[in-house]
Amino acid sequence: MELDDLKSDWASLSKQVATTHYLTPQIINKMIQKKYYSKVNKIKYPEWAGIIVCILSAVYIGFHFPLLDTVFLQTVGITGILLLIAMSVISLVSVSKLNILPDVNKPHVEVLRIFASQKLRFQKIYHYNVVLSYLLLVVIVLLLPKILEGKDISHNKYFWILSFPCGYIFLLFVSAWVKKSYRKTLQQAEEVLREVGT
């Protein structure tokens, strides 16, 4: 299809689309009000769920901290709490920044540049979180037997055989999925940045 064919197709489509008239003053008013109230809902639910799980896990480790009776385990415990807090903060900050709409009055090319840069930054941050998840897995595996006192699973050979490999296989899949799903987006973002001359 040539550009000129597209143009004639679009012209006929435009005629039909342009005849659409359903934005009454009442509907426009509703739209303005509805969006106003939705401004508090800027962060998506999955991100909130992830952040809450991280915070609850940090609290859980903190609550069981007295059970960690060696300096090594205490260090691992503190590392775990710090990792969970860091991951929550990273998610919160990155997603909040991603959802900030720049000045829409700016030229399109400028907004595209901001948009592409934000996507690249978000992708980098997402990778940091995946790396932190690997560290967190080690921390959890080390802490779990002690924290689950009374149900000592450290002597259970299946725990050691399964926990590390399963955790790492899961994280490998997550990493592969992240890499695959963002590759195209990244290429497009980079292309846009190149074309707008950044």
């Binding site: 689309v17 659409t20 809902n41 907004v111």
Partner: protein
């Protein structure tokens, strides 16, 4: 004061309703997404209505805002709040979303799917028969650059169509 501002805003939206629907149709591929984008565009236009400079052409400003909102809507991927439901039957107006129109739109989206957002924006304005000068104003690049970009898009489309065959 607020009432007169709102009245002139509503008037501007109603006069340029087609423009909003066209941008939304270009950037989305489902009715649900389109309704949501229309709502986001109208909200953004309302928020920046004060900053709209009267000496600028109204449609130029509206295209700019609508296209800027569309790319952020695209980024978010999924809508965050349900759009105000628009039911043309209840309003007793013609629903233009007939299957033939939708089919043609899908075909158009198929052909342009591999273009990046920058090229898509320029292409949409070109298809809208905007002059190079107006495209330059909306997008924020020089007039001569617009011509170069359109030639490149033409080549890209040719390559993509031959790849898709």
């Amino acid at each position: 004061m607020q009432d007169s501002k709102k009245a002139s805003f509503i008037n501007a939206i109603q006069e340029n309703e087609g423009l909003i629907h066209k941008v939304a149709s270009f950037y989305t591929d489902s009715k649900e997404d389109k309704d949501d984008l229309v709502q986001e565009i109208i909200y953004a236009l309302w928020k920046s209505f004060d900053s709209f400079k009267q000496y600028a052409k109204l449609s130029t400003w509206m295209y700019r805002v609508a296209m800027n909102v569309a790319i952020f809507h695209f980024k978010k991927g999924k809508k965050q709040v349900p759009a105000v439901p628009i039911n043309p039957e209840l309003l007793n107006v013609q629903d233009t979303g007939d299957s033939d129109t939708e089919e043609k739109l899908q075909l158009l989206r198929y052909h342009i799917q591999d273009l990046n957002l920058f090229d898509k924006g320029i292409l949409m304005l070109y298809l809208e028969d905007k002059s190079h000068e107006e495209i330059a104003q909306i997008v924020g690049i020089s007039k001569s650059n617009v011509g170069t970009k359109i030639s490149r898009i033409r080549e890209k489309l040719k390559r993509q169509v031959s790849k898709q065959k």
